[in-house]
Each structure stands twice: as C-alpha cells, then as structure tokens.
C-alpha cells in the first residue's frame, strides 16, 4: 500500500505515502558528499528521513529560525528523521561537510 515516488531522475528522494494517512514521509539521501535533492517541498506535519548512503559519517543539522535540530552523526545505511510542524523555509546542512546544503519548504 506504500508508493515510492521518484522526485528526480536519479531516484534521489522517495515520497512514501502511508496509505490514506494525512502526513507523508519523505526520504532524502546523503550521497557523494551531497544531499540527493537541493530542494524539497513538504506539508506541515510531514516527516523527512535523512539516510546516509556514503562510506563515511554525515551529520544533519539546521540552525534555521523556523526549526533548529541536530541529528548528530551516523554511518552508512542509517537514517534519522525530522517532523516539520510549522510552515516556512528550513535550511538543512551537514556540519562535517559545509558544501552539503539543502532547503526544505514547509507549506500549510
């Protein structure tokens, strides 16, 4: 009952529709020292899973006004998740590799 929707040619982000549930789940990878999508638009209440697909540790954090979080660092194959509860723009980064950056637009 779950559909994985590819958001770009390289199969970088998967939208996981949890049946008829209202909140959706998304997956963003960290691969070759980059987030697999530069931008992602979600709805308030949606959850994004950040999955490390590289052979070394990555981090995920945001110091945005809208939402501040720090998921620590974790190895290949593991993921951590963030639920976005307010509308606005969130800049997401990896503290280990400053060139890794993406934006999540949270819509009402």
């Amino acid at each position: 009952m779950h559909a994985i929707v590819k958001l770009s040619g390289a199969a970088v982000a998967a939208l996981l529709l949890a049946g008829t549930a209202m909140a959706a789940e998304y997956e963003v990878g960290q691969k070759n020292k980059a987030f697999t999508v530069k931008e992602l638009t979600v709805k308030v209440g949606d959850t994004v899973h950040f999955t490390n697909q590289d052979d070394f540790f990555h981090n995920v954090f945001s110091l945005s006004d809208l939402k501040t979080f720090d998921l620590g660092s974790y190895p290949k194959g593991e993921f951590k998740s963030v639920t976005f509860d307010k509308a606005g723009k969130v800049e997401v980064e990896c503290a280990i590799h400053p060139s890794m950056m993406m934006t999540i637009n949270v819509e009402e």
Partner: protein, 353 residues
C-alpha cells in the same frame, strides 16, 4: 498509524539498498585497480588550473603584483612581516614552527598551514571561517596579533609608490588601490602555488616507475577501508574533503581546548574539529596538525594507529588501526610521493619608491 510508519520506513530502506548496489561502486574507493595509469584512478588528478572567481582571472599582471605583495614586509605595521614570513617557500609555504609567531613574535594558537593548493579549497582556515582566497587575504593584515596593518598608512604608501601604483593600474585598470584589489592580487598569486606533478601524479598518469613498490603499497593502505582508511577524509583529488573532524589530539578536551570549527558553527560534533588539510607536499611542511603536535609523518601515522588520544569527542571515523610496522612505513613512503619537484621560487624586486 505507528505500524504503518514502521512499514514505510522498512520499505524506504529497501529502496536505498537497491540504489547503493546499483551505483555504489563507481565513485567509492573500492573497485580500484592499483596499476599505473589505470582508468579507475584518474579522479586523483587535479584539474590543470585551479578555479577562480569570474572577476579575478589570474592574468600575468595580477600574479606579478600579488607576488610583490605576498613577499613585501611593508604591508605590516612594523614593516618586518610579510605573508611569506609564515608561508615561506623554504618550508613548503609554511613556517616550520609548531604554531605561528605573530606581531612582536607573539606565539599564536594554531600552526601556519601551507598555501600550496589552497586554490583548490572550497573553504579556508583550520576552522573554515573564510570562504575563498580573496576573502582570506586581508585577514592576516587586519589581525592585530599578525601583521597588524595600518591600512590608511598602507594605502598612502601604495598610492605614492610609483612601482606599485603602476602595477595596480596594469593589473586592475580603473579599480583603484583598495582592500578589494589588494586581496584579488594576492589571491591571484596564491593560485600559482600549485602541487600537481608529484611522483604520485606521474604514476596515476601512467609512469609505472614514478612510485616505488613500497609507495604503491602505501597508496593501497591509504585508500583501503580495512587498513588506513585515510582517503575517506583525505579524498581525491586534493587529499581533502574540505570537511571538519576531531582527531582526538592530546590538546583536545577540557574547557580551555581550542573549539575549532565549533566557534563558527555551534553544532556539537564540531567541538575540537578542524579542516582536513591537503597532503600534497606534506613531506615539506612538518610539524603537523593544527597544534603542531606531531613532529614527523611517522608520528602522525602513530596517532591514527592509536585511534586518537582524547577520545571524548573524536570523530567516529577515527578508530584504532591494525597496521604492521612495515605498513606504517609504507604509508609514510606514500605520503613522501606527494611532493612535486617545484621550479625554484624567484623573489620579486620590490619597488622602493
């Protein structure tokens, strides 16, 4: 609802696994063939020319002006300290000191990094507080503990000096003599301080005799995830990931320790984390680490073999290594293969008036 979420997660991971299997090998450091010139190794070659900003193409006039400025001690308040005092070509464009000596010989907190190949960095300084060479160049002049430059006096001097005013006019016609053109000229010169023709580079290009067998073994250990695992951070082609890691140096830990990158980005894992330096020409730039605590490349290797000293907040990618005495020597021999035989540096004649 909770169950559904769980199912979705499992599904997500299954999808990822497939992706990794399909595309994982190509870019990772596995699947390499350790033969001189092999196609699987070509990503270790640097681009012929380093990148530069659109408004600052390194023309010969700009490079020549930047070279004068880089070596000119009159840029400092006491007229006795140039960029080359701490980034000295005789010491691999560093200073041979554990940590730098600044204004009035003050002992500074961090080691002078080499400027070799900084042109390829995507971020500058041990803590990454500067974004590019233009952004960096004025910093040491502004710092009271370094060159302590009096800019009013400096710009009066440069404007009244015929040699410099002509050189600026040739290099940056119509742009004037100011912090911006000063920085652009110095950055242009730094973009010529390049190491990209070492025995390692020649071996990668196909010259099988360029590296010894020991050095080739060292290269394997360097990239092997089960051996040195060095290349996950000192990655191709400039031997840096432009990233920040805590290596568990003895100077870390406790309240007074250098916060490193954490002072710029207050994220927990950045406490005591510093930028991965390039290893090109590294045999020329002892002592090593941001605190100058390792005197030789072998001491550096011993540090990694131990997996760090202060393990409190060490990077999870640093763990004790299982290397024999011979393998450690192989690693050192490999790092010694990263030295380019440079053309002798000719010093500029500085315009007296």
């Amino acid at each position: 609802m909770r169950n559904r979420t769980g199912a979705a997660r499992i599904h997500a991971l299954a999808g990822v696994m497939v992706l990794v299997a399909a595309a994982g090998v190509a870019r990772g450091e596995t699947g390499l063939v350790f033969e001189a010139g092999h196609p699987s190794l070509q990503h270790w070659l640097l681009p012929e020319r380093p990148p530069y900003p659109e408004d600052n193409e390194p023309t010969p006039e700009r490079v020549a002006l930047g070279k004068m400025l880089f070596f000119d001690p009159r840029l400092s308040s006491d007229g006795n300290m140039s960029c080359a005092s701490c980034h000295n070509p005789m010491f691999g464009w560093s200073d041979g000191l554990p940590t730098a000596r600044g204004h009035k010989s003050m002992v500074l907190g961090r080691a002078s990094p080499t400027v070799i190949n900084t042109a390829y960095n995507t971020i500058q300084m041990w803590d990454g507080r500067k974004k590019d060479l233009e952004d960096q160049a004025i910093g040491p002049m502004e710092a009271s503990v370094e060159m302590n430059t009096d800019f009013d006096r400096l710009f009066r001097f440069l404007n009244n000096n015929q040699g410099y005013s002509e050189a600026f006019a040739r290099a940056y016609p119509g742009e004037g003599i100011n912090k911006r053109t000063l920085a652009k000229a110095i950055a242009s010169y730094e973009r010529t301080i390049i190491s990209n023709d070492s025995p390692f580079d020649r071996w990668i290009r196909g010259d099988a005799s360029a590296m010894t067998e020991q050095q080739v073994r060292g290269f394997r250990i360097f990239v092997d995830p089960d051996k040195g695992n060095c290349a996950i951070c000192h990655s191709a082609p400039n031997f840096t990931d432009n990233g920040f890691h805590n290596l568990g140096l003895a100077s870390d830990g406790g309240e007074s320790a250098d916060p490193g990158r954490y002072a710029i980005k207050p994220v927990k894992i950045l406490k005591g984390a510093f930028k991965t330096p390039t290893l090109r020409d590294v045999a020329l730039t002892a002592p090593y680490f941001h605190d100058g605590s390792a005197r030789t490349l072998m001491e550096v290797v011993e540090h990694y073999v131990k997996g760090g000293v202060v393990r409190e907040r060490v990077s999870p990618n640093i763990r004790p290594l299982n290397l024999t005495a011979r393998e450690k020597q192989d690693l050192v021999a490999f790092m010694e293969a990263l030295t380019t035989r440079h053309e002798p540096v000719t010093l500029p004649e500085l315009p007296l008036r």
